[in-house]
Symmetry: C2
Subunit: 203 residues, 2 copies
Amino acid sequence: MANMYTVYGMNASGNCYKVKLALEWLGIAYKWVEIDILNSGTRTPEFLAMNPNGKVPTLALGDGNFLPESNAILHYLAEGTPLMPRNRLGRARALQWMFFEQYSHEPYIAVARFITLFLPPDHARRAELPRLRERGGQALRVMETELTRVPYFAGEDYSIADIALFAYTHCADQTGFDLAPYPKLRAWLARVRAQPGFVPMDA
Amino acid sequence: MANMYTVYGMNASGNCYKVKLALEWLGIAYKWVEIDILNSGTRTPEFLAMNPNGKVPTLALGDGNFLPESNAILHYLAEGTPLMPRNRLGRARALQWMFFEQYSHEPYIAVARFITLFLPPDHARRAELPRLRERGGQALRVMETELTRVPYFAGEDYSIADIALFAYTHCADQTGFDLAPYPKLRAWLARVRAQPGFVPMDA
């Protein structure tokens, strides 16, 4: 019997939600350990021994190894499953959109969400919101353009790229992003929600 | 005969340098098309047709397909070569460090370099430098910690993770980062420079 995975994560984090969506889709049993990152839960010596970069999610593989970085975890879990595209170009496209997500999407859309939902209304970081919304809007437009060509980000089939991009896109409208101008994107969100094993984010 | 690759890149960009290092190591012939990103070379209709996200590097595969995102390009080129770790955990580690590079390293060390080298000395963005140097220094410390355990970022062997992290680490000392406190990191930089096909960055 394979070792059981343990996810060290925070339910309100989209990056952690990605791991949950993949495990649920794949029907893999796992334990979830909730880490309170707002109260330095990723800064303890125990946590830093698992992940010296001090971030959730971190996946305990059950054999003594720990894997951080949400999109690296998705790729690891997807190897040999239908969540990984079958051809070389499809695999490259999946990673293209996963790196896009971490560089051109998450730093704007997830950070805007963090500032809006988790910081006090008078916090100085609110000044960042106009720039974050402009850059995040740009990411949504790039996604809409791609979805005029293909139903899913790696091509014809649902993959880990869709999971990575769904995590913070599906709730962007709760923190100041208007999804009305993006009909392809809204149709894609609905296709992701219709996937087997889909669970809502527990925020 | 395989189609010839064309790299749309900028010589002074570390993200583009990654692609060059991989192609040279693999001994794959390619064409290089220099794009002047400082003069909106990635904003032309022709460029946006290749990559709607408007960034270099973008790799033309020679069959009509275009692949953006430096680390997705590295992964694509490495499939089936010794630059890709042979076991599942090694492949996950490579991606772990490549996502670390794009999220926790490049936005600080590469951006500090951009502000220092490419913006006028009185530019308002200089105010960002103290924060960028602090966060970039944190990334260097995480790398030093890992290199006390392993010689390369995916484990025992040189891989695309080392190429991804070398791109902006090797020149960090030119833009205000002190590498003296990181002996393991400096020894790793020397091991990368000793790789077959190594070429310096043409900055």
